[in-house]
């Protein structure tokens, strides 16, 4: 099932997410993270999208996964943060 969200991150930029997820087990099949934010290095968003596959659509699970990718790949966001990303993702299924 594919859904979309548009979310203005507080004090940040406009985040637009396209989410394809498994309605039965609430896992991410595919995710597209777009928007007018900045991320350094830029390629880290491609990595983030891949790493989020199969993650459960539960706030704590998403936050833990996103924070671990940020740490592992030393990602610096401007206009976006882990909490904003989680909120954007969860708004797809609200």
């Amino acid at each position: 099932m594919q859904l979309k969200s548009v979310y203005k991150v507080p004090n940040g930029k406009l985040l637009k997410i396209i989410l394809d997820y498994d309605i039965n087990n609430k896992q991410i099949n595919k995710i597209n993270i777009t928007g007018d934010f900045f991320a350094y290095p830029e390629e880290s968003i491609d990595i983030m999208e891949k790493k989020l596959i199969d993650t459960l659509l539960i706030k704590e699970e998403l936050l833990e996964k996103i924070n671990s990718v940020i740490k592992q790949y030393n990602i610096e966001f401007i206009g976006l943060d882990a909490e904003g990303l989680v909120e954007g993702i969860l708004r797809c299924i609200k």
Binding site: V6, K13, L14, K16, N32, I33, T34, G35, D36, F37, F38, A39, Y40, P41, E42, I45, E76, I78, G79
Partner: protein, 254 residues
């Protein structure tokens, strides 16, 4: 003695060429083949550039672009969609390890925007930095910038609006909610300005470039020397244009 940096003025290039030149200079500088470089440029025909993380189909009305002869391209920098029409566009390419550029990304935005602010002063315009990537005059945006760091090199490019046509801009850009489009246009008109709106005059590209040149020289305490792209940069530009910026694979990446 002042450090000498290279100044490039390249007018009237296509969107693909402009983005390819910025990348080519970045690669050449990262290999120590060219000095730190400031470029001032324009877009012919007018073009929309979208941020690296944006979706072309989501942000841009491609049919209207085709009808009005407006080009479109994805940048290698993040940030938002920009309609490049009556403006001076600048870019700076410099090593990440250069002592004049702060290591911290936010501080480096502030420093580089400082050059534009000083440049605007030479056009009798008082402006100030609005973090992260804007410069404002009386709370209205006159300049926006975007930065990337690759190959241990900083590239920041941005606009200085000479004039602005918000109605045309909104014909080209898609808005999340069509119902509030008119309100959005009214809001943006309140929040965007240009050299023409402030001073009543249209400054030429060359006059704006002269002012910005002085701004960069003052901010960084350097001397800008007129130069050209090297043979290798021209070759790289052609390569990047062909392999990246003109391809659907690149422009429809997201």
């Amino acid at each position: 003695m002042k450090e000498k940096w290279r100044l490039l003025k390249t007018q009237n290039n296509s969107a693909f060429t402009n983005m390819a030149i910025d990348r080519a200079v970045m690669v050449a500088n990262s290999q120590d083949k060219v000095p730190p470089t400031i470029r001032f440029y324009t877009w012919q025909p007018p073009a929309i550039s979208i941020g690296y993380f944006q979706s072309l189909n989501e942000e841009v009305d491609l049919e209207v672009c085709e009808n009005l002869g407006v080009e479109y391209v994805r940048r290698i920098t993040g940030g938002g969609a920009v309609f490049h029409d009556k403006e001076l566009t600048y870019s700076i390419v410099i090593s990440e390890s250069h002592p004049l550029v702060p290591k911290n990304i936010l501080e480096s935005y502030r420093r580089i925007c400082g050059a534009i602010i000083k440049g605007l002063k030479h056009l009798w315009i008082e402006s100030k930095y609005a973090p992260v990537n804007d410069i404002i005059v009386n709370n209205k945006k006159i300049s926006g910038s975007a930065q990337t760091r690759k190959f241990k090199t900083v590239l920041q490019h941005g606009t200085v609006l000479i004039d602005v046509d918000v109605d045309k801009m909104f014909m080209l850009l898609k808005v999340p909610n069509e119902k509030i489009k008119d309100k959005m246009i009214a809001d943006v008109k309140q929040r965007v300005t240009s050299i023409k709106h402030i001073s009543g005059n249209i400054v030429s590209f060359n006059d704006a470039a002269d002012a910005m040149k002085t701004g960069f020289e003052e901010e960084f305490g350097i001397e800008l020397v007129d130069g050209n792209l090297t043979k290798e940069e021209i070759e790289l530009t052609k390569k990047f244009e062909k392999e990246y910026f003109s391809t659907d694979e690149w422009n429809y990446k997201r």
